[in-house]
Structure formats: C-alpha cells, structure tokens
C-alpha cells in the first residue's frame, strides 16, 4: 500500500474477524470500518466480545481468522509500526503496580522512543493535567480505580498517537475526572486523532461518539451514526436494549 492510500485508509478496518475459544466464538465474523478522525463507540453487554475485539486490535490476542488493518497497515504483520502510532488505555491490570504514576508515564514515553528528559518532563506535565500531581509519590497499587484510569490515559497521550484504543476508559472515574478526560479526548479528535472506545456508560457514549457499533454474542448487531442508531428510540439506552434484548425475568424469584 502506498503512503498516500495509507494516509487515506480508514483508521480501523476489520474484516470477518473471528476468535474461537475451544470452538466457542467470542467474536464471530466481525466486519467494521472506523473512518479517520472519528469518535467511535463500541458497545455490547457483558461477555459480548468487546474486550476480546480490543485485545485483537491491540495485538494482545491473535485472531483465529479474519484481517485487521489499523491506519492502513496490516496487523500483526506491521505490528511494530502500528503500535508506534496508537495510544492504549488497556485493561488496568496491564499497569505496573510497583511504579508511581509519574514513573509509569515516563516509562511508556521512553518505550515509545522519547528522550529520557523529554519523557520525564511530559510525565510531570501529564500528571498535573490529570490532577494526579498530589499523588505523584504514590504507587499505582495504591491508586483508586479512577486514578488508575487517569494514569493509563495520561500514558496513552505521551507520544501524541493518531489512534486511541480504549477499554472502558471512564470506569470508576469521578465526574470531574470524567469531564477532564472527555475534554482531552475531544481535543484529540479535533486535532485529527481517531478514538475507538468501549464503555458501559451509554450517556457518555451518546454525548461523545459520532458513530457507534453494538456487538452481542460476538456478532455485530448494529452500526451507524448516533442518529441512525437511535432511530425511533429516544435514547441510546433504548436502542441498545432493543438491539441486544432484555435480561431474564425475576418473576420466579419470590424471595428477592
């Protein structure tokens, strides 16, 4: 692929992606295209295959079949070149608990090729930006869930990536922190970055995302712009419940 076509290729292009765990499909024939500069929400109920999909996009789990192109480059063949251009807010278990927040951000900066002094400088700036300056000497192990998410997002920003892959970035974050994170993400999109996030907080997705996809039992059940998805429903929540179906009845549980 030439540089020009690579620059105009969708930020994420996934074709017939499958991931089997002992013959059971966690992701089943997912085809998806996320245009550049888009704020994309990837929704689904628990166990729908969201995290598995994002893991495959991050290169943390190999797909059973199908193809993944990120920023016009094939994954995993061009894994290194892709990883250099993406920012990850992964599952929080991927943080290094024995480092302080500042040390972790600096470490990530250096891994992405920043000079040590630059990485250190930026890590301090990011800590202040995410209002973690007061906790700079605390270990990540001692952080609350929301603080862990903030430090993960700060680390994802340190090398100014073109594409962000975020797994539940707002989980456990307080209202002020969430507002701050949303502002930063919107700013990134305005600068041309693409954001792909999973979230259970539908109000946040509704307010931030241009396009949304809903996955259920590994299959894509709906995809489109926010208006297309809402259709006749008033809210995204209604559309979501309609797309994935309602849960089990509680009628038989008299004691509850």
């Amino acid at each position: 692929m030439s540089d020009l076509s690579r620059d105009t290729a969708p930020a994420i292009e996934v074709r017939d992606l499958r991931k089997l765990y002992d013959q059971k499909a966690a992701v089943d024939g997912l085809t998806l295209s996320v245009p550049r500069g888009c704020f994309f929400g990837f929704l689904g109920p628990n166990g729908a295959g969201k995290t598995t999909t994002i893991k495959m996009l991050m290169g943390l789990a190999p797909p059973t079949s199908g193809s993944i192109h990120l920023l016009g480059l094939p994954m995993p063949e061009q894994g290194l070149a892709i990883k250099r251009q993406i920012g990850l807010v992964p599952d929080e278990s991927l943080l290094f608990d024995h480092l302080t927040g500042g040390e972790f951000i600096e470490f990530v900066g250096r891994i992405y090729g920043l000079e040590r002094t630059v990485a250190r400088e930026r890590s301090l700036e990011l800590l202040n930006l995410f209002e973690l300056g007061n906790a700079s000497r605390k270990l990540i192990a001692e952080y609350s869930k929301g603080m862990r998410k903030r430090v993960a997002m700060a680390a994802a920003l340190i090398h100014r990536p073109q594409l962000f892959l975020m797994d539940e970035p707002f989980e456990g974050v307080d209202a002020v922190g969430a507002r701050l994170m949303k502002d930063i993400l919107l700013e990134q999109v305005r600068h041309g970055a693409t954001i792909f996030l999973t979230s259970h907080v539908l109000e946040v997705v509704e307010r931030l995302c241009d396009r949304v996809a809903i996955i259920n039992e590994g299959k894509l059940v709906q995809e489109g712009s926010m208006d297309e998805l809402r259709g006749s429903s008033q809210t995204l929540e209604d559309a979501f419940v309609r797309a994935v179906g309602v849960g089990a009845s509680r009628e038989n549980l008299d004691w509850l």
């Binding site: 290169g59 943390l60 789990a61 995993p76 990883k83 290094f96 024995h98 040390e103």
Partner: protein, 554 residues
C-alpha cells in the same frame, strides 16, 4: 476549553528504530524494573530475605571458592563433569522445581512497540536469575583458570560462550514447557512424557542390566568432544581450542535458533484460547464432571459450615489452579520416578536408608513441592479471596483452620496417591511403612502449618495460580527451604535417632507422639498469634496481595 500549550511538543514520536532506540527501550525496561524493586522492597521484610539470601548464597560462594582452588592448580582430569553439572543445574533444576526464575511480563510489554528480538535478548539475560548459584561457580572457575600457572589467562574466555549457550537455551526450554503446560488437552500427556524423559537415565543406570564397564563407556560418551560442556572444558584446559570454539559456536547458534523460534511462538501464543474449556459436553465429560463435583463436595460432608464451605472453596480453587495441579502431579510422579531407582539400587532390593524409607522420602519431596500453596503463602495463592476473608462474618481463626484443613486434605490425598502408585509398581508396602510415612508427614505438617500461618500473614506475596511455572527465582525458594526445612525436620529426626539408638519401633513412634503433642501446642500458640497479626496487619496484607509487578515478574 482545555489548552495543551504547556505540553505542546513535537507532534510525532520518532519512527525510526535505530540502535539507540533499541538500547533506550532496554534501558527503560530495566529502569522501570529497578524502580519497581526499589519502591516495593523497603515496604516488606527485607531483613528476612537478606538473611536467607546470605546463608544460601554464602554456601554457593564457598563452593565457588572451592572450584577456584581446584582450577587454580595444574589440572590432571577434565573439567567436563563440572560443566555437565552446571548445565544440568541451569536447565533441569528449574523444571524439577517448577520455577522458571524472573522473566519479562510479556502480557504487559506486548502492548508496546518493542521488537521481539529486543525482548528475546532481555529474556535471555534474565535466565541468569534461574541459576545465580552456577554463575557463582563459573566465576570461581574463571578466576581459578586465570590464576592457574599452567594455563593462559585468556582460556577463561571459554566460559562466556558456555554461559551464553545456557542463557539462550534456557529461554527455549522455558517457553516450550510453559506453552505445553498451558494447553488444556495435551499438557497432562506432555507432562508424563517429560517425566519419562527425566527418569529414563536413572532407570537405565540402576534398573537396567548396565554393567560397570558399559556405564563407564556411557559416561565416556557423555564426555564426547562434541558436547558443549566437554568443549568448554577442552577450551579452558587448552586442548584443541579451535575445534572446541567451533563446537561451542555451533551449539550457541543452534540454541539461539531454537530459542528464538520458541520465543516468537510464545509471543503469538494465546493462553486463553489454549486453556479454554470445551463448550460441548460428551457423556464421558459429563460423568467426569459429576465425579469431580462429588470430590469437591467431600469436605462439606465431614465438616459443618462455615468451615465446610471454606475448605470446599479451597479444594475447588486449588484443583482448578494450573500451578497447584502441576506441583501436585509432580509429587507422585516425578517424586516416585526420581527416587525409585535410587532407592531400589541395581539389585532392586536396596537395604539403604532410602530403600527402607522410600515412601517417607517421596512423601517429604511432595510436601516440599506443595509447601508454597499449602504452608508458606496460602493467601498469596488465593489473593483474590483474601479481602473477602476479612469481610466475611466468620472468625479469622476459622479461616486459618479452614486453610490448614485444605492443606491437610491435599497432603493426605498426595501421600495416598504415592502409596497407590507404589502399590501398582509392586513396592513392598508394610503397614509399618504406611504408618511411618503418614505419621512423619503429619508431624512435619503440624509444625509447617504453625510456621506457615505466620509466614502467610507476615510475608504475603501475590502469586499467579494460573502460571504453571512459578516466576519466582528458584534461589529464593531454595533459600527458604534451606533455612526452614531443617528446623522442621528436627522433631522427626529425633524420632529416627530414637529408633537408631534403641532399635525399637515403639521408641520411634513414641517420640513421634511426643512431637505431635508439642506440635499441637506450637500450632495453637501460632494460630492465636496469627489471628492477632491478621487483625493488626489486614490493610497491609490486602494491599500487598493486590499488587502486580514491574515489567519483569520475579
């Protein structure tokens, strides 16, 4: 609107992967690890770790000094045997102890743009942590060669390719075994194959009709010039050095190719997919599941709740933990096959101590393997439940007793399995032998539980029960065993002394009974103290157990 002015940096990170960049990444990983260690260690009992480390490594420094003295004077025999032992210690002991040393946390590092080759070389360097002991021995040998008046100082350089060969091969061995053990369907079969490979030489030597001459011939073949340990010895001693160097280079290249191939496969390996359960249920799997369910319910048949529920939960959890399953399996397979040929001798009827106390010896080996999960670190093994124990409306003493009963459940089961396999192999199983092995295990277990209740609370270390191969450095584990096991064996040792002195079984079992009574008192005191410690340290315990690691897991 939020301004990015304070950190308006250059928009793109560097994209070229120069040598500098690779070195910077390596430095960043090592730096992060150093910071993790520095941040973590002052908050734990570093004194205790330092003490056992000093004793253990002091012993090996003394051994290295002896090797230095040996090699600094004119050598009349080949050093091939020494380097063969070094090779076995480096490659085989980690398998026997199911301990792979410190290693990169690839699960975390894979998310970043780090080339596989970079991670491979770092991982190879980390293989030093598997066998710091033999690195000391090699250093001793190197200094000895430099001081040897009949050899040139540069001969010591022959140790470098040998060490590099072991480091690189260690990556391949570890990755191959770890991947095989992570595969749900083939791990058990692969494990038994591994056992047979480990036991075959001993069985051939001790049970086969191998005459002394043939054995000598075989040993001579073991020192065949083409082996890396023989080539190292030849180079160091100045024999056919060019040939020796070529042989070492060939072994190093072969090990490098094999290990890099295995490492790349590990990078692409999906643990979740390999260990996933089948979605369909055949009649056989349904029968097995029902049988296992009955097994899980066993403790609840004997114990009322909440103790029954606590023990049942532990039985379920440990049975499903790949790490625990591995050491449990090793107890009655590796243990039997490794000790059996030695115990029987070539005639098959050895009257040695090992031969007449075979069942007890194997039981003790299995206790050592089970000790981390059952005694020393039971909360670390069960870290996700630790917080629940402090929240549940159950007296903490009940929780500790529950943990101890689960440990005893598995110990009895393990020794039962050993006895069963011994019976199947046609080993003589007198009631006295059975009584002896169970009584000795019981007495040692009581003392171990008393010590373990303290250690599990005072030194909780988060463990990954899903990792078949423990990451912790084997040296550290051996250090623990080196200090604590001899103390725990003293009461039992006194019983054996009584049997020897009075030539009486009654004296033996009498002393064991006294030991058991003392053990019970020690256990009660330890339990009361542990409950107080738990109340006092619960915040630190939960924090310590909820921690992850740095980029390198140790």
């Amino acid at each position: 609107m939020l301004s990015f002015a304070p950190w308006a940096w250059a928009l793109r990170a560097r994209t070229s992967i120069g040598c500098d960049h690779l070195m910077n990444q390596a430095r960043a990983i090592l730096w992060a690890q150093w910071r993790s260690q520095r941040n973590f260690f002052p908050r734990r009992g570093i004194g205790w770790t330092a003490m056992v480390g000093l004793i253990w490594y002091g012993f090996w420094i003394a051994a290295a000094f002896a090797v230095m003295l040996l090699t600094s004077s004119p050598l009349s025999t080949s050093l091939s045997g020494v380097f063969l032992l070094v090779f076995l210690y480096w490659q085989v002991v980690p398998v026997l102890m199911a301990a792979s040393g410190a290693s990169l946390d690839l699960r975390k590092l894979q998310a970043y743009p780090i080339p596989v080759s970079q991670l491979f070389w770092l991982e190879a360097m980390l293989r030093i942590t598997v066998a710091i002991e033999v690195v000391l021995i090699l250093t001793g040998a190197g200094i000895g060669i430099v001081r040897n008046p009949t050899l040139h100082a540069w001969h010591a350089l022959g140790l470098l390719p040998f060490a590099a060969f072991n480091l690189v091969l260690g990556v391949g061995t570890r990755d191959t075994i770890a991947r095989v053990l992570a595969r749900r369907r083939i791990r058990e079969a692969a494990f038994f194959l591994l056992i047979l490979c480990a036991a075959l030489p001993q069985i051939v030597f001790t049970r086969g009709q191998v005459s002394a001459d043939r054995l000598r011939a075989l040993m001579a073949r073991m020192s065949w010039a083409g082996w890396p340990w023989t080539a190292t010895a030849d180079f160091l001693q100045g024999h056919a050095q060019l040939r020796a160097l070529a042989i070492l280079a060939a072994w190093l290249a072969a090990a490098g190719l094999f290990s890099y191939w295995q490492f790349r496969r590990t990078m692409l390996f999906d643990v979740d997919a390999a260990s996933a359960r089948a979605s369909g249920r055949s009649a056989l799997s349904q029968f097995v599941e029902e049988f296992i369910e009955r097994f899980f319910r066993l403790p609840s048949l004997l114990l009322g709740d909440p103790l029954g529920a606590l023990v049942e939960k532990d039985v379920r959890f440990l049975t499903r933990s790949p790490r625990f399953r591995l050491v449990f399996l090793m107890g009655f397979t590796f243990g039997l096959l490794i000790w059996l040929p030695i115990a029987l001798g070539r005639q098959g009827t050895s009257q040695s101590f090992l031969g007449s106390n075979y069942l007890t010896v194997v039981s003790m080996y299995s206790l050592i393997l089970l000790s981390e999960a059952c005694f020393w670190n039971f909360f670390g093994f069960d870290r996700s439940a630790a917080q629940l124990y402090f929240l549940a409306p159950v007296a903490f003493s009940r929780v500790m007793i529950g943990k101890n009963l689960s440990a005893l459940f598995f110990i009895v089961l393990e020794i039962g399995m050993i006895t069963l396999v011994c019976g199947l192999l046609g080993m003589p199983l007198h009631p006295r032998t059975l009584a002896e092995s169970f009584s000795v295990a019981a007495v040692i277990s009581v003392f171990m539980l008393a010590a373990g209740n303290q250690l599990s609370l005072r030194q909780p270390r988060p463990m990954n029960p899903a990792a078949s191969f423990r990451s912790g450095a084997s040296g550290r584990v051996q250090a623990i065993l080196f200090v604590i096991w001899p103390i725990a064996f003293v009461p039992v040792g006194l019983a054996y002394l009584a049997r020897y002195a009075f030539d009486s079984e009654a004296a033996f079992f009498g002393v064991l009974a006294v030991d058991a009574a003392i053990g019970a008192i020690v256990y009660k005191l330890s339990l009361d103290s542990a409950v107080a410690v738990a109340e006092q340290l619960k915040e630190q315990i939960v924090t310590a157990l909820s921690r992850g690691e740095g980029p390198i897991t140790a």
